[in-house]
Every structure is written in C-alpha cells, then in structure tokens.
C-alpha cells in the first residue's frame, strides 16, 4: 500500500483512514455502554450480598466483555465469534442460570443481567450480518420475555426492556452507518488532495526538467544550429557528451513510471554536481523505490562524495553509477571506477569517505561498503536499509 506508506512518512500514521476512525469510535461507544451495565451488575451483586452463582455470573460477564472489547481494541475491530458468544452466554443464558441456581426470584435482582443483553445487542448490530443481527435480537427478546415472565415482572417492565433492546441495536447501527459514510467521504477527500499534490509535484518536476533541458541541450543545439561554432572542438564535444548522458539518465529514470522519484532526482543532483567538474558518469537505474526524503538525501550525499573521490583519485575521468531496487522498499546504489584503486590494508580513509559516506549512511539507517585493490578501481556500495 504505497499510499499508506506515504502518509506514514508524513507522521500522520496514527490518524488512520476514515473507516478505521469510525471503527475505533464504535468500539469506544459500545465499550462505555457495556461498562455502565457491568457497573450496575457489580453494584447490584455486591450490595445485596448474594451467593456464589451471582458472583460467578458477574465474573463471566466481566470476562466476556474483556474478551469482546479487548480483542476489538487490539485488532481494530470486533471478532464475530466473541460477539456471538457474548450474546449467547451473557445475554441468553445468564438470566436463566441466575434464576435456576442463583436464587433470583424478583425482577429487580435480575435487571442487571438483562442489561448486558442490550449492550451486547449494540455490539452485535455493528458486527454481525443482518440476518444474524435479527436472530440475536429474536433470541434476546425471547430471553427477556421468558425470564421476566419467570420472575413475574409487570408488562411495563417487559415492554421497556424489549424497546431498549431495539433502540440499542438501532442507535448503534445508525451511528455506525453514519460514521462509515463520513469516513468514506473523508477518505475520498484525502485521496483527492493527495492526487492533487502528486499532480503538483509531477508538474513541478516537469518544469524542473524543462528548465534543465532549456539550460543544457536546447542551448547547445541552438548554438550549434546557428553555425559559427566548430562542433569538433574538445570543449563542444565534451559538453554534448555530458548533455547526452543527462538525457539518457532522464529517460532511464522515467522509464519505470514511478510516481515519486525522490531518489532519482537526488542522485541526479549529485551526478550533475560532479559532471560540471569534468567527471563522466554512466548511470543505470532500475525499479527505484520510494524512500523517505532523509534517506534519499543521505544516498545522494554519499554518492556525491563517492563520485568526488573518483574524480580526485581514480585518474580515469569516468565513473559508473547504478541504483536498483528489488521491488520492495530497499535500494542498493553502487559507485564504481576502473582507476588507480588503493590498498585497504594500508590506506587510511579520508574525511569524506568516513564522514560523508559511512557516517551519513549509518545515520540514515543504511550501510556503506568500500572495496578496492591497487590498480583495480574502487567499488562503493550504499545499501538501505542496512
């Protein structure tokens, strides 16, 4: 999910998508609802000093709630099976258990257990499929009617409880529907904003390319076309070769159709800076990944330094640069020359190699390796992540 990765770099990963936000809100709301019912249960049982079955009932309800909501909080959404278990055990079975073995004979002693069914219904309404929600409702309504009938409750209490079942399910579902819709709208708006930003970035990049082409290739061709310049002088040929190399790299970089080309652009700057000092760079790119801007900057700095080393020490005037990704997030950049080289056993690396290459890469979470032998060129490999 490149889009997700992108937002992660911008430090907004904690916000999440609209759907995720709607979900966490629903989990929180139903959790508070259930917590209020549990509180009633604990108080009711504690105040009236009931027997062990009552305590076991409260403990079961607490355990099931912990399972349902704990899982939901951890995974980001409810588990259907746990919600179903909660409906069957806390909502369906508990009142009968309390009546049969807990010695509960009056409606007001059974009330807290019945309440659990209503909060369970709220969670079920947003989690289960429509038919299952209906089945849960029928089961709970039957439980309420039958259990209250057993303890001889007034018809008013019955009607009140069934209607609170309906409204719990209804309100939860309406909330859920509304939040999901808002979330989707928000996601769409975000996607549009992101696309617009991409478009702007592409446009800015194109403008930068045009400017670069204008200052280099176009200027050179125009001057040559105007005549009066000997195209065969070393200076003109050198300039043409440099600009051809620029165009070649430009085509390579854009061949993979990567929407974000932060590495490509950063490396290009590094190459440009040494080319203007007379080094020829042959570059090959493949599947450049999207990396955090700090990593792109570190790679470019290290590459620039490695290329500068070629320019100063290799004595060939030519360097090879490759940058390749494997299709994931990782990237390997190599800077290779076929020049003088050095003996790694006796050579003390200069400040540039230590600081701008090794330290810079380590700092960005990558790694640099320098290999060489006298007369055998130098190979610098930059790898991210390390």
């Amino acid at each position: 999910m490149p889009l997700r990765r992108l937002t992660a770099w911008r430090g907004t990963a904690d916000v999440g998508s609209g759907l995720e936000r709607a979900r966490s809100f629903m989990i929180l709301a139903t959790l508070l609802y259930r917590a209020s019912h549990l509180l009633v249960g604990v108080l009711a049982v504690a105040q009236r000093q009931h027997g062990p079955v009552q305590y076991a009932g409260v403990a079961t309800a607490l355990g099931l709630s912990a399972l349902v909501f704990g899982t939901a909080l951890r995974r980001g959404w409810f588990d259907r099976w746990f919600v179903t278990a909660d409906i069957l055990v806390a909502g369906g079975a508990l009142p009968f258990v309390l009546w049969a073995w807990g010695g509960v004979q009056r409606p007001d002693s059974l009330g807290w257990a019945m309440l659990l069914g209503t909060s369970g219904m709220a969670a079920a309404a947003v989690t289960l499929e429509r038919l299952h929600v209906l089945a849960a409702f029928v089961l709970l309504a039957a439980t309420h009617l039958f259990a209250y009938h057993l303890v001889g409750a007034q018809p008013g209490v019955l009607v009140g409880h069934v209607s609170s079942l309906v409204s719990s399910a209804g309100i939860a579902w309406v909330f859920w529907w509304y939040l999901r819709r808002q979330g989707r709208l928000l996601d769409e708006a975000n996607a549009r904003a992101l696309e617009a930003e991409r478009h702007r970035a592409r446009y800015a990049e194109r403008l930068a390319h045009h400017r670069a082409l204008h200052d280099t290739v176009l200027a050179t061709l125009t001057a040559l076309a105007a005549g009066g310049i000997d195209a065969n002088t070393p200076r003109v040929r050198e300039r043409c070769a440099r600009e051809a190399a620029y165009l070649r790299r430009l085509i390579q970089r854009t061949a993979d159709e990567v929407p974000h080309d932060s590495v490509g652009a950063a490396l290009e700057e590094a190459v440009g800076s040494v080319e203007s000092l007379g080094l020829r760079v042959v570059a090959q790119y493949h599947a450049l990944p999207e990396v955090p801007p700090a990593v792109a900057a570190a790679l470019a700095d290290a590459t620039r330094e490695a290329l500068n080393n070629v320019r100063r020490h290799a004595g060939t005037g030519r360097a090879h640069l490759t940058a390749t990704g494997s299709g994931g997030e990782d990237i390997v950049v190599t800077v290779v020359d076929q020049g003088a080289g050095f003996d790694p056993g006796t050579h003390v690396p200069g400040l540039g190699l230590r600081g701008s290459v090794h330290a810079r890469m380590t700092e960005a979470g990558g790694r640099a390796t320098v290999e060489s032998a006298p007369g055998d060129g130098v190979r610098v490999e930059l790898r991210w992540p390390a």
Binding site: A241, A244, A245, L247, R248, I251, Q252, A255, V282, Q284, H286, A287, A319, H320, L321, T322, T324, T334, V336, D337, Q338, E371, A373, D376, G377, R379
Partner: protein
C-alpha cells in the same frame, strides 16, 4: 584480408552512419563495407555468395516497424554476427535482442576503442560483454527469464555495476577466465531460451502454413 574485419552498419540516422564511417576510416583493423537504413536494404547489398560484412552494427530500434528479433534473425541467417547499438539502453529490447541471437550490445556513447574491442571479440567468435547488457540481464523481470546460478548472478551484477571483469573476478575470488565464462554462460542461457521460444513459434507458423494445424 588478414587482420581486417569487415563491418556493416544499419541505422536510419544518416548522421550516425556518416560519423561511424569517419570514425572507422582511421581504425586499421576495421573496414566499413556496407551501410543501410533498414535490414532489407542492407541485405539487398549482400553479395549472392555470402554476408556483406562479418559483423553488423544494428540499431536496436529502426523506424521501419521492424522488431529487433526479426532483424537479428534475418541478419544471422546470412552468416553475419550482430552487435546491437542504441542511444538509450532500452532494457527489455536489449534482452529481446540477446534472446534473438545478438552477439553483443553497446550504447552509442561508447568510445572507439570500446567499439573496436567489441567488434574484434565478436569477429573472433568470443562473446562481447558490456555493463549495459549485463545490467539488462541482471535486472530482467520477465517471468520467463533463464535461471541463473548465484555465482553467475554475482559476476553479472558486479560487471553491470561498471567493474572490470578482473575486479569482479577478484571480488568473487575466482580467475578472470572463470568470470568471463560465467558471463558467456548467461548469454548462452538467454540465446538458448530464445532459440527454444523461436523454434516453437516457427514450428507453429510452419504447421499453420502447411495447413496441418487447422482441421
């Protein structure tokens, strides 16, 4: 003529052909014998008894609608060896050329000594290697690509990164000779894969033409 290799150039860029002619004039071991803008035109210059040139420099993409594969097959049928050249290394087409039997690939920005060395290698029947070709093979993402051994892959990658064969061999702890062998083997694998695919297509075509496949 001992020591002189005959060269043909097929490129629809007139300026490049002229430049090549001027370039090769001063190169004692090479002689440009024929140049054309298309393979058809080039084969028209072909003497009836054989190839017009030992090594043909073929532009990767000609503007006459022909494909690298078709062009290379036609040229190789005359007995010429083919060195493919292009301005920009278009990797999938480079690999396609290799599969079709090209003997080497170079970008046009290489200098004369590099070109001369590649032509000499090819004329002598040795494989000509270049970092661009190695890079195209090393990063070939075609699911039908030949399977390479880890050693072949390492040498290929190092050579593609711009190291000399000697440095790549030193790095792998093997002799230059063995390293070259690995590169040759990669090339052979591609050509064999290409030949197998071509034979299949060719066979299918012939079966179709003979009317054996239809009913």
């Amino acid at each position: 003529m001992a020591g002189v290799t005959t060269i043909g150039v097929i490129d629809d860029d007139r300026m490049l052909v002229d430049g090549m002619r001027a370039w090769l004039r001063d190169e004692p071991g090479l002689r440009l014998t024929a140049s054309a803008a298309t393979v058809g035109e080039f084969l028209g210059l072909c003497p009836p008894d054989g190839a017009p040139a030992e090594v043909v420099l073929l532009d990767l993409v000609l503007r006459d609608g022909s494909t690298p594969t078709g062009n290379i097959h036609r040229l190789r049928e005359t007995g010429s060896r083919v060195l493919v050249i292009s301005t920009v290394p278009d990797r999938s087409r480079i690999v396609e050329s290799l599969r079709a039997g090209a003997d080497g690939y170079l970008t046009k920005d290489n200098d004369l000594p590099t070109l001369a060395a590649a032509v000499a290698d090819i004329a002598a029947g040795r494989g000509a290697h270049s970092p661009e070709l190695a890079f195209a093979c090393a990063h070939d993402t075609d699911p039908a690509r030949p399977r390479l051994s880890p050693r072949e892959r390492q040498i290929l990658l190092d050579y593609a990164s711009g190291m000399t064969l000697k440095s790549a061999a030193r790095r792998a702890g093997i002799t230059v000779h063995t390293a070259k062998d690995y590169l040759d083997r990669v090339k052979t694998k591609y050509r064999e894969a290409g030949r197998a695919a071509y034979t299949k297509i060719d066979l299918a075509r012939r079966v179709h033409e003979d009317g054996l496949g239809g009913s």
